[in-house]
């Protein structure tokens, strides 16, 4: 989710070019994929999941090369969907075809969903204490900081030209202030923006 932060984290960990040893990569089984994604996901407290994926899948296990990983990451970010689940599907598919994709995304989603319910039930039993609400509000406020930092980082990467900046601002106003339904804003602004990019021939 905090993908901009994750990619900053990730960029700081990329080895200089030439450090990668080319050669046959290990090919995990679907079960190994499931277990690996479960382990990585459950230890990603506080976000930065794609950064952890890079470290485990590429640097420790050497299942794919860094270049393949980064291609997959940018593709995952361009597509709708949670970036990290898209990336899991991309990597799983790359390593083990359809069952690899299923195993990777299931490993990422199923145990994490169960754990979050356990955490929520734990908090619910403390819900009557005023301190619980204060603590959650404080943590939530800090999490809004994550969102803010990610928005600023993403904004820094938008081209400094009139059209993309205007589209970014119009999207913000339509969704944030006018509260228009997101999907129509996305279809409208996205169509205009992609058409302009295409015409410009980037």
């Amino acid at each position: 989710m905090a993908n901009a932060l994750a990619s900053r984290y990730l960029a700081s960990r990329i080895e200089p070019r030439g450090c990668l040893l080319p050669g046959p990569l290990n090919r995990p089984s679907a079960l190994q994929l499931f277990l690996a994604f479960t382990r990585i996901t459950l230890t990603s407290f506080g976000g930065g999941l794609s950064g952890w994926l890079l470290r485990e899948i590429v640097q420790n296990r050497k299942w794919v090369t860094e270049e393949e990983f980064l291609n997959g990451l940018s593709l995952s970010q361009a597509l709708p969907g949670f970036n990290v689940t898209n990336l899991a599907i991309f990597l799983g598919y790359r390593l083990r075809g359809v069952w690899g994709a299923v195993a990777a995304v299931a490993g990422m989603v199923v145990p994490a969903s169960m754990l979050v319910l356990v955490i929520a039930v734990g908090f619910a039993s403390l819900a009557d204490m005023p301190v619980t609400h204060s603590a959650l509000e404080g943590a939530g406020a800090a999490a809004i900081g994550l969102s803010l930092a990610m928005g600023v980082t993403a904004a820094e990467r938008v081209d400094r030209r009139a059209a993309p900046l205007a589209i970014m601002a119009a999207t913000f106003v339509a969704v944030g202030i006018l509260q228009w339904p997101l999907i129509w804003v996305l279809l409208g602004a996205g169509a205009v923006s992609v058409a302009l990019s295409y015409a410009r021939g980037v």
């Binding site: 970010q77 709708p80 689940t85 898209n86 979050v116 204060s134 509000e137 999490a143």
Partner: protein, 178 residues
């Protein structure tokens, strides 16, 4: 119950395709649907759930798991999770399959660069909506802005910020009560 599950599905299935640039971009609309359209929870409850989802490990979909749980228990959690992930998972699978064959084509780059400003506007809008939903006076707002600044300027671990944010707001509120 069946109606609730259907409503959850109808909320999250279309939103699945709206999660461009990560789940963050759909957050403003999830908030609108859950709080204002369906009145499934109050803004404060939404913020609690958001905080729990953010503290927990895993993909952003865990927020929808929690909403589904809140609305309709286990089956709600299952339906909400599958609805928000399913459609785009199939899409990602299809694209993973064909994308490499057209690597670097003009239309591909146009899609990638054209979606970027839209996704950014959505992330900023989500931040704005959540920031406005903050209650409890100045302390949470200061925590939000300060943690955003710290994340941009330093390499502090986000989990540490969440813990500090919780501690600061608890201390401030505690002082107000005494």
């Amino acid at each position: 119950m069946a109606n609730l599950l259907l409503s959850l599905m109808l909320v999250f299935l279309p939103l699945s395709f709206a999660t461009v640039g990560g789940g963050q971009s759909a957050l403003a609309d999830i908030h609108r649907q859950v709080v204002e359209v369906h009145h499934w929870m109050t803004p404060a409850q939404f913020l609690d759930i958001f905080a729990i989802a953010r503290m927990a490990p895993g993909p952003g979909s865990v927020l929808c798991t929690l909403i589904g749980w809140h609305v309709a228990g286990f089956w709600g959690a299952l339906v909400a999770t599958l609805s928000i992930i399913g459609p785009t998972a199939l899409l990602a699978y299809g694209v993973a399959h064909v994308w490499a064959r057209f690597g670097g084509a003009r239309w591909q780059r146009a899609i990638e660069s054209g979606l970027r400003p839209v996704a950014t506007g959505m992330i900023l809008a989500a931040t704005y909506v959540l920031f406005r939903a903050l209650e409890g006076g100045w302390a949470p707002r200061v925590v939000a802005l300060a943690s955003g600044a710290l994340l941009l300027k330093t390499r502090v671990h986000p989990l540490l910020l969440l813990a500090c944010g919780a501690a600061i707001v608890v201390m401030v509120h505690g002082n107000q009560i005494t």
